[in-house]
């Protein structure tokens, strides 16, 4: 009997300890302090929010930079024009984001002010690395101090620095890095794998269109159709240009034809490999 009571007391004490631990764990999850195993849960949840956002891809050619986004389907009564996922930060920098669009709006506004402030003090257009670093600084600052939650936004920045094309990716954790081709958002894993297989830094020398590659990449994750894709192109010395729907539709047609032909080829080659 005595041992039973002991065991009961032990169990109660264990339950209390568990409740205490859970209490402190939920504390970890609420604000950005480290969890016992070294995670910043809020940052990881922010990355999750980004993974729920619509896909964006960025491709660096030798003379052209391309940003492509998956267009979210707009409600019937909504004006599609007001939903912009590719924005110009300055005449020579463009940004595409994935994640919470309200957070993105705030970040983009801060970035725009920084671009002009840089021009005012330095009298030069802001280098892409510098503005990426600024955005990542803003995002990181909300992961370290009390009360703030991280920005649930990842961005792809493109622009030219002294004639050289540059593509940068910024994370909600506040890390930024340079990429030759990258992707963010819900289809990013698929798109990144596709790009790893199909991207070559000399696309333009081989006379291939980086815009076509962007459309092809997005078609891997987007419901087929030019109406679900938006592409922007940036060339040295020119402001960002949004590609027309007609041009995208033309690319989609060509890509679909090529896929059909590829399928036919595979069928024929597999037939010929059948043993007699």
């Amino acid at each position: 009997n005595q041992s039973e009571l002991d065991r009961q007391r032990e169990r109660e004490r264990e339950r209390e300890r568990e409740r205490e631990r859970e209490g402190s764990m939920s504390y970890d999850r609420a604000i950005t302090v480290f969890s016992p195993d070294g995670h910043l849960f809020q940052v990881e949840y922010a990355l999750e929010a980004v993974r729920k956002g619509t896909t964006a891809v960025g491709i660096q050619g030798s003379k052209t930079l391309v940003l492509g986004v998956e267009k979210k389907s707009t409600a019937k009564l909504q004006e599609p024009r007001t939903q912009r996922k590719i924005v110009a930060l300055d005449g020579h920098v463009a940004l595409a984001f994935a994640g919470l669009s309200a957070d993105a709006r705030v970040l983009v506004h801060k970035a725009r002010i920084q671009c002009q402030s840089y021009r005012l003090t330095v009298e030069d257009p802001i280098p892409i690395e510098v503005i990426s670093r600024y955005i990542s600084k803003v995002q990181q600052s909300s992961t370290i101090r009390g009360g703030k939650r991280p920005y649930g936004v990842a961005s792809l920045l493109v622009g030219f620095e002294a004639g050289e094309p540059r593509l940068y990716k910024v994370d909600p954790s506040g890390t930024y890095s340079q990429w030759k081709a990258s992707s963010i958002g819900r289809g990013s894993k698929t798109c990144l794998e596709f790009l790893e297989k199909n991207y070559a830094s000399d696309i333009e020398e081989k006379d291939e269109d980086p815009v076509k590659l962007a459309v092809k990449t997005l078609l891997e994750v987007v419901e087929a159709g030019a109406s679900n894709i938006e592409i922007a192109v940036m060339r040295d010395g020119e402001p960002m240009q949004i590609v027309s729907d007609e041009e995208i539709a033309a690319h989609v047609e060509v890509i679909n034809k090529e896929k059909e032909e590829e399928k036919k080829r595979k069928k024929l080659s597999s037939v010929s490999s059948w043993p007699n």
Binding site: A88, L89, H109, R112, I113, C115, Q116, S117, R119, L120
Partner: protein
């Protein structure tokens, strides 16, 4: 004494049927020393706005560039450019708020072309502003306003506007004590801003002087 700092620069502006023409003298000088003779005092605030400024070099350039950068920010952040009226009022408010803290000694003329057509705003260093058809700042005003009053008509063509300005400049060169050999003329119309010469022909924007490390001799640097 504050007023005299802005008086020596000559700024002129006339509005026509579908354009605004601004002229500014090109010398940067203080007291008895001339620093340079190719100063451009008319800033392009954006594709369809010009701002001519006068005053001490520091205030003049700082204020102008500050307004220019803020207008660019507005255009980018709102994807619709600010009207000339809005830009002029923004500049005026900046001057007014600084007036009783650390005032800018900058007289300016803001010219623009927007949906409402061409407009010219006269603004003075104390932040008084008025929309006008013809304007002049500084000592130059004493000589040229009467000429403008006499020869300007409503809905002038660009040629007529240029001839009025030529008369003003001739008056200055004849009667004004300070030497004013060269002027920079800029026009803004529906196609945007451009630099023109006295005959109305478009001129390339003045290239900034470059000093190559390889050049040692002074004469090469002067080119």
């Amino acid at each position: 004494k504050r007023r005299r700092l802005t008086m020596a620069d000559i700024l002129l502006g006339v509005t026509g049927k579908d354009y605004v023409l601004l002229a500014a003298d090109r010398s940067a000088a203080r007291s008895i020393i001339v620093f340079k003779n190719d100063e451009d005092k008319i800033l392009e605030l954006d594709s369809h706005k010009l701002m001519a400024t006068s005053g001490p070099q520091g205030d003049r350039t700082n204020f102008g560039e500050y307004i220019q950068r803020n207008l660019q920010l507005y255009n980018l952040a709102n994807s619709v450019p600010l009207s000339t009226h809005g830009a002029a009022n923004f500049a005026r408010r900046e001057l007014a708020e600084a007036l009783r803290r650390s005032p800018w000694q900058v007289n300016s003329l803001i010219a623009g072309f927007d949906k409402k057509g061409p407009s010219l705003y006269y603004m003075d260093y104390m932040a008084s502003m008025h929309k006008v058809d013809k304007a002049a700042h500084g000592y130059g005003a004493y000589f040229t306003l009467s000429v403008m009053d006499r020869y300007c008509v409503k809905d002038m063509s660009l040629e007529e506007g240029l001839s009025v300005l030529k008369k003003c400049i001739h008056e200055l060169q004849t009667r004004f004590l300070l030497k004013c050999n060269s002027f920079i003329l800029k026009v803004v119309d529906k196609d945007g801003t451009r630099i023109i010469d006295m005959d109305g022909n478009t001129v390339e924007p003045p290239k900034p002087k470059t000093f190559n490390k390889s050049d040692d001799s002074d004469s090469k640097a002067d080119e």
